[in-house]
């Protein structure tokens, strides 16, 4: 059993970082804030590695099965004897894997940022936000309670908001931050209701109990949850699906992906950390966390996951081919890769259930974190150098930025699934899982992988080759070009990571039930994907290696489709329409109007009527003595009549 303090420290260190830097950053640490944050995180990383080692190769395994350990656990808010939000730390293969990924990538980004963000006005703020994010992300992956995960879910969202909006004086950045937060918030609504449903039927908020109760067909909760149905769909499916919507929002799955490209407005390291490696995979992690509920409890929900994943993967790949902003391309590729993970989780819902997809997805998550972070950091270097995000501003940088060039190439190969790089292994497992369960998804995935290779290398060639002799002038200050050691070191480390991580025997370590899964496909299986990948690379080379107009020709020949794809299938516009036109003009405005004129009007009306009446009846007080007397007599007579003839 691990020392709970050590584990607790892992999230708490970044938290202290956040508090320290947040409160005293400006006053005390100033330019050292970066160092402080990085050191704290370094410690956390070391601890994480220590824990991971200990778990995988020590106490984690009892008689060959990886256990769910809960070393830290206290009741945070107790609603009733059954329902309570507990703050706990769960240790199981995926969470351990995740804490490693998060801390490692985050550390890389911290180091990178030391140089990248130097001289920024809100330097310390930046690092405090970074630490906040790291803390929340760690909290998220370690959650032992479904509400705990929701809590950190929200925190992650807000820190992402803060970091996207870091350049708050840029309207575009502010808009992007808002968009990201609101879209994910919308998804979280689904998540919340899903939680409510699941917790209502399982009558607990604790993951272990919840999964156990909702997956064992003999438990009473299972029965009620499956029998209770709304619109002909079982409550369990509703719950699972709604939770998945939450996940889809965070993981930028179609159609909730629209915030991701804009999120690139944030500083590039942030994009690397949050919008490539860690936060965006939270959705995948969530589904994985509740995997049994999905897989056993409601296959329909699982199918949803699978299809959404597939569609997202494919669409994102398509769009990526047309984008010219390098970070956006990467963003869409991220989306597409996450689509892969989702679908590989989802396929387990088809036919005979096995855990291969689960493992594959986690594996891909791991490798993807490496090479995607690497890609972004490289992009950061490039942008730093070129001072532009536009591809066509670049070209022929391979001599200017050698290290970047190499690591970028590695990353590209990895993502295109070229052996023996990490991407190859993970992607192949995914394809294998898909192939075993569902043909359609398999083929879609396959094509997508081809496209992936194409657009990644389109990016690669047009940055590092293509118009050779541009940017000669900056050639002077060679040494500072790649931002010095602090920026290069992370590149190298991550490059190594993306090369080697493929060889980790993932199947033995991470699986949905803790027992090793053996899903190595026959070598012949990998011919097709790899071939496709290579084909993609060749085409990309043919188009973009040398400066030419072939690509434009193609584009113009398919202009209608090209435009559609270029505009991301007009999904943004659709959303804009819904929010602006429908929510604001058809709901908000009327509500405000109603309040101003009807509700308020009624109140004023009563007031005005009173005054009006009093104005009207003033004639009674006519000042005529005899009229007064007349009223007197009539009043008396009236009373007398009333009480003599009416009431008696």
């Amino acid at each position: 059993m691990p020392d709970s303090l050590v584990i607790a420290l892992i999230p708490l260190l970044p938290l202290t970082g956040f508090v320290l830097l947040g409160l005293f950053g400006k006053k005390i640490f100033r330019n050292n804030s970066g160092i402080v944050g990085t050191l704290l995180l370094l410690v956390a990383t070391v601890l994480a590695i220590y824990i991971a080692y200990g778990y995988f190769f020590g106490y984690g395994k009892t008689n060959g099965v990886y256990q769910k350990l809960i070393p830290v656990h206290y009741s945070w808010l107790r609603f009733s004897e059954n329902l309570s939000i507990d703050m706990g730390i769960i240790l199981d293969p995926i969470s351990v894997m995740m804490i490693f990924v998060v801390t490692f990538v985050s550390l890389m980004v911290h180091i990178y940022s030391l140089a990248y963000m130097k001289g920024e006005e809100r330097y310390s703020t930046y690092f405090s936000f970074l630490s906040l994010f790291t803390f929340s992300m760690l909290g998220l992956v370690l959650s032992s309670n479904i509400f705990q995960i929701y809590i950190f879910w929200e925190l992650v969202g807000v820190s992402s908001f803060l970091l996207i909006g870091y350049y708050y004086d840029r309207p575009s950045a502010v808009a992007a931050a808002k968009k990201a937060f609101i879209v994910t918030r919308f998804a979280d609504l689904g998540f919340l209701i899903g939680i409510l449903i699941l917790s209502f039927y399982s009558n607990t908020l604790d993951f272990g109990l919840l999964i156990q109760r909702l997956t064992s067909p003999d438990s009473s909760q299972w029965r009620t949850a499956t029998e209770a149905s709304f619109l002909g769909i079982s409550a369990l499916t509703w719950g699972a699906a709604l939770v998945f919507i939450g996940g889809a929002g965070k993981s930028a799955m179609f159609p909730l992906h629209i915030w991701l490209p804009d999120a690139m407005e944030g500083p590039t390291p942030v994009s690397a950390l949050i919008h490539a490696a860690t936060m965006v995979v939270a959705g995948v992690y969530l589904v994985a966390r509740l995997f049994p509920v999905f897989a056993i409890g409601s296959p329909q929900a699982m199918h949803l996951v699978a299809y959404v994943g597939t569609v997202s993967a494919f669409l994102a790949a398509m769009i990526a081919c047309t984008q010219t902003d390098i970070k956006r391309v990467l963003a869409f590729s991220t989306m597409s890769q996450i689509g892969y993970m989702m679908l590989s989780l989802g396929v387990s819902g088809f036919g005979t259930f096995d855990g291969s997809g689960y493992t594959a997805s986690m594996f891909h998550l791991f490798t993807h974190a490496m090479f995607k972070a690497l890609l972004f950091l490289c992009a950061g270097v490039i942008i730093h150098y070129v001072h532009s995000n536009e591809m066509n501003q670049m070209g022929g940088l391979r001599r200017k930025l050698p290290v970047t060039h190499i690591s970028f190439l590695i990353a590209c190969l990895a993502i295109s699934g070229i052996p023996p790089l990490s991407g190859f292994f993970s992607k192949e497992e995914i394809l294998f899982a898909a192939w075993r369960h569902n043909a359609v998804i398999y083929w879609m995935a396959l094509i997508t992988s081809g496209i992936t290779a194409f657009y990644m290398f389109r990016l690669y060639f047009s940055i590092f080759w293509n118009k050779e002799n541009s940017h000669q002038k900056e050639g002077g200050a060679q040494h500072a070009v790649e931002g010095g050691a602090l920026m290069v070191l992370p590149l190298i480390l991550l490059a190594i990571g993306s090369v080697c991580s493929g060889f980790i025997p993932f199947g033995n370590l991470v699986s949905f039930d803790g027992t090793p899964v053996e899903s190595k496909p026959h070598i012949s299986f990998s011919i097709l994907p790899v071939g496709l990948g290579l084909l993609g690379i060749l085409i990309a080379g043919w188009f973009y290696k040398k400066q030419n107009d072939r690509s434009d020709k193609i584009a113009s020949s398919f202009s209608r489709i090209y435009q559609a794809v270029y505009h991301k299938f007009y999904i943004d516009e659709l959303y804009l329409f819904i929010t602006k036109k429908i929510l604001f003009n058809l709901v908000g405005r009327p509500a405000a109007w109603f309040d101003k004129n009807i509700v308020d009007g009624l109140v004023n009306l009563t007031g005005n009527t009173t005054t009006m009446i009093s104005e009207k009846i003033k004639g009674i007080q006519s000042g005529k003595l005899q009229q007064y007397a007349m009223y007197f007599l009539i009043g008396a007579a009236g009373l007398a009549l009333f009480f003599i003839y009416y009431r008696r």
Partner: protein
């Protein structure tokens, strides 16, 4: 201990302010007084815990009873349970914050602070009184100071707003009055206003059905029950900063506390009868308020409408009539009190500097006044229910509580309520984005100063409260649950 001290301290403070010689600044007296009160509130909390440890059975503790008017059998009865202790803490927080925020009031300083403290007095009295007559007395005592605060120190169309507020609140209390008299005369042979005795006897359902609407609507007017909320926007936006803090922070809570403590607790059967109506109205208020907020240009109006929405949560929680929901409602009272007070404080700070409250005229203030804007962020995030801040805890508790009903009707209501968290996010973020972020619209904003010590202190006090609930809610939960438990017993039996 004797709770009358809670009344004595503000009373003495107020008198001291009135009698203060020229050279003593009233604001200092007010500050000292409210600080003592704050300390005392904490002492009360501590004593309450120890007392509870002593006898957990008693629903109310520190009960004192002095016969006041035997002719009508009206007694000065005071006592607290967890809920009231929580409310008292809230009041103490907001009073001191209000005093600090209105540090630079120029005209009629004496009167200003006198009224401020007097308002606090009313609130304390309301929360500790166990006799409906005394309760009503303190409920009404607070109306006129509000009127004067808005009318004299307010801004905008202050007369109109002040009038509207005073009249609508009086209307509410008129209904309450009729309801109370009804309770009194239907309380069996030996008529009484005493809360405890009334709670003990079973009022026939027929009678309950007559008086519950009166009482609930009456108190509801105070807590912006749809469609009686229309005093809220005008009143809040015209009031001076401290005034708005009081209005939204405390006085709206008087209403919800009354709904819970008097209407629901004493007339449980009728409460069950009318629960659907309450739920519908409050769900409407929640969404409708939120959407109305989206359309506002003026920060104060924005916050006022969002208060309508948030108080809808309180009423929803009460209407759901489950223990968790009621606990959630009380938490929301506290949370919304602190949060909205903080919001108004910030708005006041902004207004003091930029002399505008129109969102579109600001921008990039983050660069100009980082502290104020940070507070603005926190308030905003609290109001959109960010975990780690109090709003989240309260809302989640209400959701869980209302989800305990399995009927489709309740489900729909709850989901509708949940929807508001998105809308809230929309308008809060729009506000934050327009006010704090973006380029600095107006160049002379660059000269503006950041918050002064008093404003910082005020903000920090409130933020401490918010975070204390948000990060470790269980203490509040333990404080409140027994009280809610008592109410639940009344609701569930027979």
């Amino acid at each position: 201990m004797n709770l009358s001290v809670l009344l004595l301290i503000p009373l003495l403070t107020a008198i001291a302010i009135l009698l203060a010689p020229r050279n003593v600044q009233p604001r200092w007296i007010a500050l000292v007084g409210s600080f003592i009160q704050l300390v005392f509130a904490f002492i009360l909390l501590h004593l309450f815990y120890s007392e509870k440890a002593g006898n957990d059975a008693a629903s109310m503790v520190f009960i004192r009873q002095y016969s006041w008017l035997t002719a009508w059998n009206i007694n000065y009865e005071i006592g607290v349970d967890g809920i009231s202790v929580a409310m008292i803490l809230l009041t103490a927080f907001i009073v001191i914050a209000g005093v600090l925020v209105s540090w630079n009031v120029q005209q009629r300083v004496k009167e200003f602070y006198f009224l401020l403290i007097f308002l606090g007095l009313g609130a304390y009295g309301f929360f500790i009184s166990l006799n409906l007559f005394i309760l009503f007395f303190f409920l009404e005592i607070a109306v006129i100071p509000k009127y004067l605060l808005i009318g004299i120190w307010g801004s905008g169309k202050k007369e109109y707003s002040a009038n509207k507020l005073a009249l609508m609140l009086m209307g509410g209390s008129a209904l309450v009055l009729v309801g109370l008299l009804g309770l009194y005369f239907s309380s069996g042979g030996e008529r009484t206003f005493s809360l405890m005795q009334l709670a003990r006897l079973h009022i026939p359902v027929g009678i309950q059905k007559i008086f519950f609407p009166l009482l609930f609507t009456g108190f509801g007017v105070f807590t912006a029950l749809f469609p009686f909320h229309t005093w809220v926007p005008d009143g809040h936006s015209s009031a001076p900063t401290a005034g708005s803090m009081f209005l939204a922070g405390i006085s709206m809570k008087l209403g919800s506390y009354g709904c819970l403590r008097v209407a629901v607790y004493l007339l449980p059967d009728a409460a069950k009868e009318y629960a659907p109506v309450i739920i519908v109205l409050s769900s409407i208020a929640i969404l409708y308020g939120a959407f109305a907020t989206m359309m506002q240009r003026d920060l104060k109006y924005m916050n006022a409408y969002s208060s309508v929405s948030h108080c809808g949560f309180i009423l929803l929680g009460i209407g759901m009539l489950t223990k968790t929901a009621i606990v959630g409602a009380v938490m929301q009272m506290i949370s919304h009190g602190l949060m909205t007070a903080l919001f108004f404080a910030v708005i006041g700070m902004i207004y003091e500097r930029t002399h505008t409250r129109i969102v579109s005229e600001m921008g990039g203030l983050m660069k100009v006044m980082p502290f104020v804007m940070t507070v603005f962020f926190i308030a905003g995030f609290c109001s959109l229910g960010l975990p780690g801040l109090s709003g989240f805890v309260a809302e989640i508790t209400i959701f869980i509580g209302s989800w305990e009903h399995s009927g489709l009707f309740y489900r729909v209501a709850t989901v509708a309520a949940c929807m508001s968290i998105v809308v809230t996010a929309v308008y809060i973020l729009r506000a934050i984005a327009q006010v704090a972020m973006g380029p600095v619209k107006n160049q002379q904003y660059l000269q503006l100063k950041d918050a002064g010590w008093n404003e910082k202190l005020a903000a920090i006090i409130l933020i401490i409260g918010i975070i204390a609930i948000g990060v470790a809610p269980s203490w509040l939960n333990h404080l409140v649950s027994p009280g809610a438990e008592v109410i639940m017993q009344k609701i569930t039996n027979k």
